[in-house]
Subunit: 562 residues, 2 copies
Amino acid sequence: MKVIIVGGVAGGASCAARLRRMNESAEIIMVDRGPYVSYANCGLPYHVGGSIENESDLLVATEQTFRQNFAVDCRTRCEVVGISSERKCVELKDHATGDVTTESFDKLVLSPGAAPIRPPLPGIDLPGIFSVRTVPDARQIKQWLERGAADLSGMDSYTGFQTVTKPQRAVVVGGGFIGLEMIENLAHRGLEVTLVERLDQVMPPLDPEMAKLVQRYVERHGVRLELNDAVAGFQQIPDGSLEVLTASGKAHPADIVILAIGVRPETALAQMAGIETGERGGIRVDEQMRTSNPDIFAVGDAVEVRDFVTGEWSLIPLAGPANRQGRIAADVIAGRDSRYRGTQGTSICQIFEAAIAQTGASEKALNRLGDTDFEKIFLYPNSHAGYYPGAKMLAIKVLFRKSDGRLLGAQVLGEDGVPKRIDSFAMAIQMGCTIYDLEESELCYAPPFGSAKDPVNFAGMVAADILRDDMPISHWSEVNNGFLLDVRNPPELAVENVSGALNIPLPELRERLDELPRDQEILIICRSGQRAYYATRILLQNGFQARNVAGGMLSRSHAASS
Amino acid sequence: MKVIIVGGVAGGASCAARLRRMNESAEIIMVDRGPYVSYANCGLPYHVGGSIENESDLLVATEQTFRQNFAVDCRTRCEVVGISSERKCVELKDHATGDVTTESFDKLVLSPGAAPIRPPLPGIDLPGIFSVRTVPDARQIKQWLERGAADLSGMDSYTGFQTVTKPQRAVVVGGGFIGLEMIENLAHRGLEVTLVERLDQVMPPLDPEMAKLVQRYVERHGVRLELNDAVAGFQQIPDGSLEVLTASGKAHPADIVILAIGVRPETALAQMAGIETGERGGIRVDEQMRTSNPDIFAVGDAVEVRDFVTGEWSLIPLAGPANRQGRIAADVIAGRDSRYRGTQGTSICQIFEAAIAQTGASEKALNRLGDTDFEKIFLYPNSHAGYYPGAKMLAIKVLFRKSDGRLLGAQVLGEDGVPKRIDSFAMAIQMGCTIYDLEESELCYAPPFGSAKDPVNFAGMVAADILRDDMPISHWSEVNNGFLLDVRNPPELAVENVSGALNIPLPELRERLDELPRDQEILIICRSGQRAYYATRILLQNGFQARNVAGGMLSRSHAASS
């Protein structure tokens, strides 16, 4: 058996190594058009920022590793320039020599990845505008950033000119994962950073209210945000620096521009091979990573996957899924019955000292599907026991089925303890957990690491209170129509008040029930929703109609309606 | 309805608050014989160590909170001195006044906790010997530790006597959670610390090879370990300091002694009430936390619980389960059908910069039950992408069913990323996960937080390789009988060698197969087991009999046999 794998990063590399383990006698050729295989593209922003110091650290496995340990014929700077599905062969161009050779295959695996979107805007090819996809990209960005210092290295001790030419102002176009990681890393290098984003939020997979928290956090770290404004073009001004021009007519000065608009599945090979692509623009594969041609497999960022929660076809370009898909393609080629269960979109992104993470379905995705059988809650628990130093507030949004309590999705932002929680939610979603299961989860607790009631338990308890009708809830978008009761203490109201709300601090509530209307729904507010829950219980059991406003004041400022 | 809750920490406090939310009209009395309710006993070691500065920080909720927010008649320094099951009443002694009053109940909830074991050894009542259970305990320890400084505060600038009388040498008796936390906190205060433990390992719930790693780590932090040696008594020597005398005849000098030998369920109240206790010495309850008397409930460290994985009756004194049990008792009293699913023993303990955590069954527990349908693996992955700074090696042991792949237990030690992994395992065990599910788990990954193949995935893959017969394994305890092949590179052998092993570095293996015996099982060694896996695949497919020695050299030094 002869297998050709096109693309030697993540999915392709995993496929090659796994296939060799499953089949010692197969002939395996792995080609990549770039200079490296199996490099850490997720590490590129951190190499630019300097926390990953050496470029060589990004090279997870080399051509030599693949040859020696896996007996894989590994070829870099080698590009597929033609595919014949009928004759089952590919044409390979060696970029070192320019030679084109033909190789036959029994099975072909496509792992070409996704390419950064580079719209044909005026000035997009000006020097100083970069994408962040490959090791050479990162090298060029670093060289550009160090240029000023290097040029003036002989004279900076007495002229002070260095500050004139060394890049100081960066504009990042696009607020997705790469954009946010680049912001942090450019700021880390001391640059002034502006983020220009066409949409009304950063991190498109996130729900807008969680994105708003991210936006505020980024702004507090000195980044200028320009949302709702598309880039219209770029121009060089007389001093040699750039301007990023936007649809709204603004011109943002820049010494360097990072394009992080998003990625698009590489489907040129699929077109050559005549295999099917889907409506999302990716290569269509079955559960076994087989394309419409049974001898051709595809894995990684180039393929469409089923969303594990919603069942939708999706593009979810993440490294973990790419690796698993590579293994599954290898298993299937080796004659095993492996299947891919879909992608649930578990992701995390470091933003300065914080992390934003999510897993499963967003409210956006559910709304897009017209799904109304869900409820959402917002929690703001401490990352660990509040009495132990270093506890930070987490902001958590959890989505679950109203009809059966099934956990659908979670989004978590915070400066501490985010991975612990998102992975619990991720495992829970994989296993079809309900929010009743979350109530009972037994997660690790010691004061430095958690709480006796972990935020994940707490999410389960709040959701279960709703589904058991112990705590009807309301959302800020709905508070216009009810009687507002604020159960916080007066000093808290002095900081931020809700106009029109009656204030009865929780400890006084039982004695002051006669101040409340019995013919009207009472919407109860506190800081985070906890005291309002206690108040809701008191009122319901005293014959009032009451609802807890989900997430309390902490949700108000970023609620969709405000 | 009138409910009396005895014990106002963790289980009792949770029960009171939950019961009020479920039933606004019940009369709820919560009593505690100590001066505080709802204090953070898990924080006591950190208060002694100084990271939790103020004693008041330990008071999570006060009597006033319970009165005002929950309308609970909360009484401290109030002890139950008699229970009549027939008349359904308790006698309460108010320690402030000495008065004894009688209160009737409809339902009684016992949450007395567990008491530190204090064996009747010679000298155990000498000054300077402390347990760590209550806020006053911690206060006394702090005062004792600060005594020297306080006594000499007026003169320490010129005499230097302070160093003579301020406690410098601590002996901690018992190497469980509290013992280890106290070690860290005493060392943090600058004391020289000796740990004396009767057993041959610290942390009894851990398996011995994982405990050995903890022991090494603690010793590297300057703590003197005296295992396998029971304390025989204590004596005061002429300079006023103490000596801890052991069964082996040693005398360990000490300026302070911490007794952390373990805890024993408080069953005095159960005896008064005439309710059943189990063979483990705890109060017996059903799934609804009901004792043998249907009007009396019991929760928390005083009760025996079913081990969620093994089904055994167990004593698992942990805060999370105590809280959940309190809620369940409240639900049941309020007429709901809540049930406790058992305890899986998820726990974590900070030890200097590291954390040791576990969940589910240990190998010890399975052996004790005569269960042989399990396999174990050892992994040593990075806590996050190795190319991103700060990655630390994790040591992970995973136990799973041989027959069906069900995950049974996990133990994780490391300086980074431990909570993320143990909680994934904990959630997986709760949901009945198999190791095949772990292969497919989609956990969060970005270079600072994980790897594209998370350690949890990696555990699933290794275990699945075994169960699919892709990788037969062996353990160090079995390596005496086979042909040993070491596939590491020569520089690695120079550091640590296995005598009698043939060395063929992995890259040369395919060319040197003729050096290997075909009539004998070949046991393959590398550093962590990964290259040995690759080698196992090569040999098996070439007709050899081969096994991977689980965990490689990293497991050798702490394997049970060595």
